[in-house]
Amino acid sequence: MTHREPVISAEKLTKRFGDFIATNEITFEVYKGEIFGFLGANGAGKTTAMRMLCGLSIPSSGRATIAGFDIYRQTEQIKRHIGYMSQKFSLYEDLTVLENIRFFGGIYGLDNHQLKSKSEVLIERLGLQAERKKLVGELPLGWKQKLAFSVSILHEPRIVFLDEPTGGVDPVTRRQFWAMIYEAAESGITVFVTTHYMDEAEYCNRISIMVDGRINALGTPGELKRQFNEPSMDGVFYQLARGAKRGD
């Protein structure tokens, strides 16, 4: 990366639930336009960390800024400057394509004029002209996920958080999805993504791997493979996560 402007910077970020330390002093930076893979075994603390970064959960200790906003005091500003999409919840199945776009755009404060032009552009780019009035529930999963991603960056956020966006999607659609991620990153949106597909880890500029609440590895895929002397990310992940003591 040539531009090193940090969009996420976390320092010793910690979240405790009673005796349990879900996220233990994680420190990392994510730069503008970067695709950052956030990996870890089930229960390693990814979800907790992501919730804190999205301003949904206040950390127990540590410090972090998202798009320049403090995650303790400026959670409202943070929410306005990020996008979020997850495999589990993304769009309302009982609303049409157009209604979903308008609804989520409206939430992020786009005015009617912007909404109109942006939804036209979006529908055309996804090739959904014929489906614009269809209920989202009737679309194939792959289309739904692509639509959900487009909607999550409709308001041009500084960062978009993607929680296992491609789970269960067919391999061709999965690649089309990643092409969209690349495009978003090129336009300057920082992408923070979790996945269980190790080939997708390779598509990230840098990745971190969490084990038992800590970040045990951080670097480009190439660096990590050299560091752990493994031919693939799968091997790196296996080496690190095999020793994990806890699950979710």
Binding site: A41, G168, R175, H196, R242, G247
Partner: protein
């Protein structure tokens, strides 16, 4: 052990076709994989074979019994692990296991040898409620519960979905050991990399089967040659590669871009392409022929399907 002949299943009064004319058979003791993305029809096939759904047309047998008329016999012979978490979260590990053993008319003791390998890993937490277990542990417990009555056929519907790669690998190790005990296993998964661990697989998309064979057989049947390409600027490479040849199909695959050479003629690709990319300003260029993986085969079939 399992045969299906032209089974079809539609939902919402025939408007949604979930399973379209599917036929396959699974031999005794085989580990058979149904590989395809969500919504391909895997769960519907499993539910028909476990007698939970009736097919619209076609027929199927499990362990020699018809799935429609003989459903009660089938129910006492098969083990089934549905895609959703299907244990009682408020019962402990031990209670869940004992409950399912009794429901299937057996005891934990009688068939303990079958589950011993798996159960010892979770036994130390025997008093813990199932709802408080990690994903990997839940999965092991669910497998124990599905196995406890010594089924002749085991149906595992997406047992590894949403599970991290380490737990997935462990789970497949367990399946291999079970196969050695002579249990016929049908497993479905959206993860293409798991296909190579099955004896035979059926690739499935939109309710129909694209191909059935051993993983090796499917790879061997790949219709053209495949290359892996790498250079210093991968994102730009994706855009530049297709301009090299109009018929070429390329897609990201891990740290490489895979290149399908169908319809490109038999020229010496690696050298020519390297020259082309160098001229485009790339460095660290690598072009090498590779053997196709199941995922490559699946992608290839989907593309052929579309065109």
């Amino acid at each position: 052990m399992v045969t299906t002949t032209n089974i079809t299943k539609t939902y919402q009064k025939g408007t949604v076709k979930a399973v379209d004319n599917v036929s396959f058979s699974v031999e005794k003791g085989e580990l058979f994989g149904l590989i395809g993305p969500d919504g391909a029809g895997k769960s519907s096939i499993f539910r028909m074979l476990t007698t939970l759904l009736l097919p619209d047309s076609g027929s199927a047998t499990v362990a020699g019994h018809d799935i429609v008329t003989d459903y009660q016999r089938i129910r006492s012979k098969v083990g089934y692990m549905p895609g959703r978490f299907s244990l009682y979260p408020d019962l402990s590990i031990e209670e869940n296991l004992h409950f399912f053993a009794t429901v299937f008319n057996t005891t934990v003791k009688e068939n303990y040898h079958l589950i011993e390998d798996i159960y010892v890993q979770i036994a130390p937490f025997g008093k813990r409620r199932a709802g408080k277990l990690s994903g990997g542990m839940k999965q092991k417990l669910a497998l124990c519960c599905a196995l406890i009555h010594k089924p002749t056929v085991l149906f595992l519907d997406e047992p590894t979905t949403g599970v991290d790669p380490v737990s997935r690998r462990e789970f497949w190790e367990m399946l291999k050991r079970l196969r050695q005990q002579g249990i016929t296993i049908l497993v479905s998964t959206p993860y293409m990399d798991e296909a190579s661990l099955c004896d035979r697989i059926a690739l499935i998309q939109n309710g129909s089967i694209l191909s059935i064979d051993s993983p090796q057989g499917i790879a061997d049947a790949y219709p053209s040659s495949l290359y892996a390409v790498q250079a210093n600027d991968l994102p730009r490479l994706i855009h530049v590669l297709p301009t090299y040849h109009p018929h070429m199909h390329s897609y990201l695959f891990g740290e490489y871009i895979h290149l399908d050479t169908r319809g490109m003629g038999g020229h010496d690709l690696p050298e020519e392409l390297t020259r082309f990319l160098a001229a485009e300003g790339f460095g660290d260029i690598e072009v090498k022929p590779i053997a196709p993986t199941i995922e490559d085969c699946f992608i290839n079939m989907l593309i052929r399907h579309d065109t």
